[in-house]
Amino acid sequence: MTVPAADFAIVTEGLTKRFGQQTAVNSIDLAVPSGSVFGFLGPNGSGKTTSIRMFLGLVQPTSGTVRVLGERMPDRLHTVLPRVGALVEGPAFYPYLSGIDNLRRYDSADRYASSRSRSARIDSALERVGLGNAAQKKVHAYSLGMKQRLGIANALLRPRELLVLDEPTNGLDPQGTREVRSLVGALAAEGTTVFVSSHLLSEVAQMCTHAAVMSAGNIVAQGTLAELRGVDTARVRVLTPDADLAVETLRHLGLAAERSHMDGTATWVLAPVRDEVAEPETIASALQSAGVRIRAFSVEEPSLEERFVALTGEGFDVVQ
């Protein structure tokens, strides 16, 4: 990466957290560029929330350091956190208070938040997450998604340099999910760095510029989204009853074609694309002129999901 060190919103060095025998976060070196929308991916129990708690000074690292907005945490927490909005492991509220009173409560805890502008700021945060009409309702009467929205509103009470959102779309309906995505986009356009943890790949793929992948406490990959996908490994996929002929033809073009699985009476033939022969129409016409019957043909960017599974393993069981 070419950006100088000061231009990182979050930097960790050898950040580690152990719970007894178990290492929940294992010496991670994370660098979140300022201005990025940074996806923090990882299966359940991989250490995302534990890392976020350490960024925010809620949990003391066993070893290693964290810098947030250029300052050491948790030492400089009082000057850093007013510039950071956060949603950690789901929203939490006083069930017997209304939505608006809950935000009032949290805002009054921040010594840098002026009480004169409080009502106006709370109203605009509630509008921003679409809760204007439910503001007076007691939170115990909120649905899961409404609480999630209120949690996001809490993170937006003041303009922030950094937003840390742990699974922000958890429990949201499709409209809500889309709104969060466009909200993140709008905030990023305003210049806020957004750090989003998620185990939903499609979500990260749609809204992030950068990402890191965690697995069992380790960061197994990080970089821009393009870097993570691996740009030069787009694939040709051909569904054909003439699999052997297709493989031969593609190999003539210089592609390392291989038979994959059967699909009915036809077979999928796959080949990684090389830049010099990447034109889909060239490949398609070569196949046709060789007499290969084509039922389906596509050139695909590798999906982030495949990378994710490749990086974190196929197993469904929680690793630790």
Binding site: G35, P82, A109, D110, R111, Y112, A113, R158, E190, G191
Partner: protein, 288 residues
Amino acid sequence: MSSSESARIEVIPDRRTAGWDLLWSELSVLFRRRRTWAMLAAVALIPILLAIAVRLSTSTLAAGEGPPFLSRVTQNGLFVGFTSMVVAIPLFLPLTIGVVAGDTIAGEAGQGTLRYLLVAPAGRVRLLLVKYAGAAAFCLAAALILTVAGLLIGAALFPVGPVTLLSGDVISVPEALLRSLLVAAYVSLSLLGLSAIGLFISTLTDVPVGAMAATVVVSVVAQILDILPQLAWLHPWLFSHYWLGFADLLRQPLDWASFGTNAVVQLCYIVIFGALAYSRFATKNIQS
């Protein structure tokens, strides 16, 4: 990325405020809770039930029978408050303090709001101070409500007139009202040590009921120790030892000695358990 970098915002924070807002917020959350009002209503019920029971009973009590002052209630309604204070202070008031003080940190932790207060950032020390102030305000509110309810029901059901003190002197009604307020102040002061213990216990757990129960148990244990003659050396250092000492405020001339000793003992508990709460909470991992 250059476009977003040129657009990057520098959040200029509003001016740093003195931070009283959190205290007001704490008090308003505490005193708007239905649970708080239920407990205060129960506190007010003590003098009311006591006065009604005395009014309805036909047999007159011999002096010294029943709790202190009870025999005087029928002659002077102003004694209802004092008698109910004696009845409430060993168990009922500690019970309500246990609920409020035990809930301070553990309640926030249990419902997850602690992490958002700390991320706001409330500051751990400031949050402890504000929480303690809330518990202290509850002690004062409970003692005042008991006193006021006692005065009102006493005036409604019994004659009210100049009060004959324990020392035999007689004081006027306004003077007696003043003494009632002094007793309320004495009782709220008496509960501050237990509140500090509750605050400390509350930093140890994320389960509020556990902290509440433990605080109440501590207050019961202290009172049991206080009646064991073998532990006489310990008695002056028990936070509950001076709980009934407010009788000294009903002598003429006013005897401030037990007020002062009580204040010193309570202060010791506040300092010790405040320090323990701080050392526990300042570096605690917030996992809830």
